[in-house]
Amino acid sequence: MSKNMPVFIKVERYEDISKTITKIRQMLKDAKDSLDKISNLRGQEEREIEEWNAELEAVEERLTTIEETLLHPEQI
């Protein structure tokens, strides 16, 4: 079994690294928040499109009724 030799780093760099890692963690949290918002907005968008579709179908249905009344009164 072989194992890599340990690596030592200077303390000042250690502090830098620690700060960088903290910042990366914060940025990752921000990225996650952004993704959550994007996901929510996508959900809203999908719901809007579904309702849009329902409204268009309702208009189509009403138009059919109007058409039947005006153009084919004998069918009513």
């Binding site: 194992k3 830098d16 907005l41 109007i66």
Partner: protein
């Protein structure tokens, strides 16, 4: 000379219903237009959030690079390896063969951002394989 169209009358037995239908259709059409505005706003918001996300990820990439450069530039394959046995005693640590990591000088062909990311991924995968 075009022939004059003759008048044509249709009897509507339930005019109130027709009137109501027409008004409701107009109402629906306005609702549809309103929804278009709402959808447009959502899309704008989503685009802004995506830009924010992209810039956050780009900042993370920069920070990761900074983290990488904060660490000693050691090529893993150049590190001496030690045999770990059951009877290993503590010995002074051998000086490491530290080499400056060669900065890739390959001038990447001007390509899209995707190509650049693909190259970067390839490099990381190569490094992972060498571990």
């Amino acid at each position: 000379m075009p022939a004059k169209e003759k008048g044509f009358y249709v009897g509507i037995s339930n005019p109130i219903d027709v009137r109501r239908n027409l008004l409701e259709t107009s109402k629906d059409i306005i609702q549809i237009l309103k929804r278009y505005e709402s959808l447009h706003r959502i899309k704008e918001e989503k685009r802004a959030e995506m830009n924010k996300f992209r810039s956050t990820v780009s900042e993370i990439t920069q920070l990761m690079l900074r983290l990488k450069t904060s660490l000693p530039p050691v090529r893993i394959e150049d590190l001496p390896r030690r045999e770990v046995t059951e009877t290993t005693t503590r010995k002074p640590i051998a000086p490491m063969a530290v080499k400056r990591a060669k900065v890739s000088q390959e001038s990447a062909a001007p390509g899209s951002e995707l190509d650049r990311l693909e190259q970067e991924l390839g490099k990381i995968e190569d490094k992972l394989k060498s571990l």
